[in-house]
Assembly symmetry: D2
Homo-oligomer: 350 residues x 4
């Protein structure tokens, strides 16, 4: 079935494995007349690209997108847009020695259980490399959002147990970790260096926001805007928790504290995170995701081989220490995709 498709109105289908010939995406439902070329995609892909920043793998992928369809004279035509990103720097040899082992924290065991066959090279379909296709699709979605003036941003709120103390949106642009607190950012970098030395890895927390989303998008009852955001975010490999607005804090508040009252200036608070009953309020949409540490570590761990025999494993391939900040761009892309989908869906209602 279509497990690699996302969205109903703005509908994407991704494909590709970490060490196959390419990853890519086909976008259906993109409105005609948008200016789109490879440069637009490249700009977005460069921000997600491996090989940059302290927490990142040394794999060097140029991530050069090719648009195969759906464009004519520099504009979208309304037909499917296929984008392919070739895999260049794939060192498959690094993986042959663990072809028979289930890496802890990875999908090796579960893919084997599901399919009886798996592409063990670099995680195959379960690799974070698949998210390059999402980022390319998100860049196209953003062209639709631009028509509404909708802006999407992400902020690293915590990393390796170090949390932001003072939130300064501008600061996030001034460090590699997209952290809105320069002091915290520096502490996070120290933590990364220390943990890298140990051959271990880290997780963290990212906030994603969308500004200027018009009120009235999202569909009762299963396609609520927050439900679709939750699916979008939890479907990113390393994400283990998703919060909307006040999120977990809402559980400890009273109704009086949590309710967002209104006066002539609009909502007096935004505990709802910009979504009530699954439909946007016009306030900023605020999402937090909690990201587990990268499972590939250089420390010895107990595991099994495909024959069920005990083994010890440590990962020697090239891997990030932390999914942040590269995952931030994936989260932004997924939020852009959800909102674009629902903006188009709302055109059928209004």
């Amino acid at each position: 079935m279509s497990g690699s498709s996302f969205g109903k109105a703005f509908h994407i289908t991704t494909f590709g494995e970490s060490h196959g010939p390419a990853v890519g995406v086909v976008i259906q439902g993109c409105p005609p007349g948008l200016f789109l070329d490879e440069a637009v995609l490249q700009k977005a892909l460069d921000k997600r690209k491996p090989g940059q920043g302290i927490a990142s793998t040394r794999r060097k992928e140029p991530d050069t997108p090719m648009i195969l369809s759906g464009i004519f004279q520099g504009r979208t035509t309304g037909t499917p847009i296929a984008i392919v990103i070739n895999n260049i720097d794939a060192h498959s040899k690094s993986y042959t020695d663990i072809a028979n082992l289930f890496r802890p924290g990875h999908g090796d065991f579960t893919y084997h259980q599901k399919y009886g066959i798996r592409d063990f090279r670099g995680g195959g379909r379960a690799s974070a490399r698949e998210t390059a296709a999402r980022v390319a699709a998100g860049a196209v979605a953003q062209l639709v959002l631009d028509r509404y003036g909708i802006q999407i941003h992400s902020f690293t709120l915590a990393l390796g147990g170090i949390a932001v103390q003072n939130f300064d949106a501008k600061a996030a642009a001034q460090n590699d970790l997209q952290c809105p607190d320069m002091a915290a950012a520096r502490a996070m970098e120290e933590r990364i260096k220390a943990v890298k030395q140990q051959g271990n890895s880290l997780g963290g927390t990212v906030q994603i926001t969308a500004m200027q989303v018009p009120a009235g998008i999202g569909e009762p009852v299963f396609d609520k805007l927050d439900a679709e955001i939750a699916r979008a975010m939890m479907g990113i490999g390393a994400v283990k928790a998703v919060e909307i607005g006040a999120g977990i804090q809402a559980a400890t508040m009273t109704g009086f504290e949590n309710n967002d009252q209104m006066d002539k200036t609009g909502f007096l608070s935004n505990h709802s995170g910009g979504i009530l009953a699954g439909i946007s309020t016009g306030e900023p949409i605020v999402v937090q995701v909690h990201v587990k540490p990268i499972p590939s570590i250089q420390l010895d761990q107990k595991t099994l081989d495909q024959q069920g025999q005990p083994a010890v494993i440590s990962t020697t391939g090239r891997h990030d220490i932390c999914a942040i900040p590269r995952i931030n761009k994936v989260c932004e892309a997924m939020l852009a995709l959800v909102i674009t989908d629902h903006l188009l869906r709302q055109k059928m209602v209004a």
Copy 2:
């Protein structure tokens, strides 16, 4: 579009408003040959029913289900199963005085923005009453799960800021709040009473587990089992956060701490919550949802009317103080629906 449908293989469509003639559900894809009658549904609905327990509304709905199709001689036939639950105890008069006001924390404002027309009686489509249909569908899904021996349970981990200290699964069956800690349960009840007196309301945290789910279900990459669970849970009206396995804690752990190692006895921990790379591991599936306080409270709050004029509102209808424990049954139903859907989908792979 089909925003009131859920699932691909086990596909449900719900309908109905709080104060319309009925709520209900049509189930497609249910395997033939299952023993199903109204009694099976009634048993499940009785557990979700309003009018029982300390935190619940006084609305008395018998919630009597009628099966209109898909059954022959007591067994499912493979064709769509339509279930209707008539609304009996709907006091629409209570709502006429707030027909023109947007209740804080409710979908009144957003439905108005979306559709330009709304059924203001009791929240209309956004009412928790809609979840009766989900619970009925979940009871049918459970018949499929029974064939695999899969059991789904829920536990109230926190309510009104009071958290469970000692987890004793058996205790959960001995108090109305499904709380696995009798001392905490009693404290929660006291908290409910106090807050009720104040005309305020409470939220809390629920854990839902599924035992004996076979390894190998869930689909890369957008229909990951955890992504679909997140959508299912966040699509329940009051839920503001969803965690899988270690959830938020995973963000503060190192890779070595978080990875679930294996030996011949199986996984040595279950931080993954029974899901790796979106596919089940065979370990218990563990989900936590965080529920906001009921927005209908008797305290004065600032709001606007449909003409944009300021107003003060307090709710006088019959309402729960806390969505827990009634929401627990809805969460169980949604988890049953997701797992059933993916069990059937896996039949096409294996």
Copy 3:
């Protein structure tokens, strides 16, 4: 899976068996603000109703629709519209003697092969009774079409081998068979009487047209307007062939003969049937369907029982002699559903 659903933007799900409690439909994606009540539905259902006309069964079903949701103060709200039509005049006893036999031309054998269990009463889910739900949904779709001034009509072009000679649209309103040729209509009636006497049955041909459909609806490449019409029509029980525009004749024409040239007045012919490359041209949409004879006949036929033993069967229940003219209303409904779906889909493009 969702085999009882139809449409993407205007999405319907039907349910119900011939001799179960009810048939019905849930409509998703209906725009808000349309005036809808049971009278609108009743008017449409009355035209499809059994028990009227020379070719019809004597089963007397009032076909009284109940709207369970999606309506507030007489208008649609944008939420799912559930419609239930109770089965009243179901004589299940007539079927018990053939419970174990596969009726030729019916779905008895194939349902048994598919599900291993079947509701043998009156054809169960395969009964033409299911089409009442389609007609109700079509009546709602027509409310959308009314906004565009789109009119749908059907004409009986042939019945029992007797074909229309002179097409006079007004004549179709003056005979029970919707035949646009009064002389042919009378000959058809004679044919029906004669064949009825013999205990045999008849088929025929129906043309369905949609006027004032705006140019530009329909989606490349699999959801072409004609492709969706073909699915819609062929999915009606007795239909064995579907033509669009020149249809079969197109196969014998040259390109020069078949091409619809244009001048300032518009298209100079309409061999395309109002659809080019799957998208509407603005010309009338013209569809023909060919309907097999009713399989239930009173003549002895060879068959098998469920144990594979030979048997002789003749049908004694109440049955139509010809699906025409009742099927005409079903064809109209299906065309209305397809066009409505694509009108809404086009709102996302334009």
Copy 4:
């Protein structure tokens, strides 16, 4: 929306324009473990390829497929299979002089109406070139069918008004037109030559059969096997009519004549075309499609330009005289896709 997707269980998405960089397809839901490489696809594509046979365009496309994903060590893995076929021999210059004109019988006018922008080169997305992607997908579907021993064949029953007189399946393999009557084949070739000389074009009729399809596949009520076949076939550019089994003839038969009786040897006739109530009977599935003449002709025709001014047009690009026999392979592919989809869907029922 997803108008370029087809199938629910075996789900394909095609993309690409006639003169863009490439056409291609992404296949989801393909079972793991099938042996698949480019050679399998090439063999199927070679049969559809332009540049061969008397009725074909002189465009020379090698149609070399590249598999970008979903394959590991020569076998399918269960993840999406992306196939790309680069466009090599695209002479876009031939089209610039008609960039502003609507070619009669083509989608130029309707695409313009729909999108307001169109890739006029060679028909863009509406080109028959798009069907190369379908044929590639059909070749993958056939691998699934091979497991069941299902064989799909096509036969040219008529071309340019010349119909087969004696059906000899073996003869079809002995002429380029796949015509099961050598004498008719020769007459068809003469007809093609004559019409080519005139700068005109021809249509015809193709029969497609599937043998050894197990009884019990197809889904009530909208996803009937015949409904899905009708959609699949009518969605091929030039097809204007689809018949199943007795098709149009069924409309003139009595119930006694049309019903397929059974005895211990099975069905005594196959007027149903292997499908009853939308579900396969186990008999051969028999489909006929009627194909309009190629709209691109060298004769002068009246048309309009994009500004609504009258013009005269004749086509000078490279074009087929008749869609047959190349379309035969597309029809086979579509039938393979429908049957594969329903075989997989049935795995969830049984």
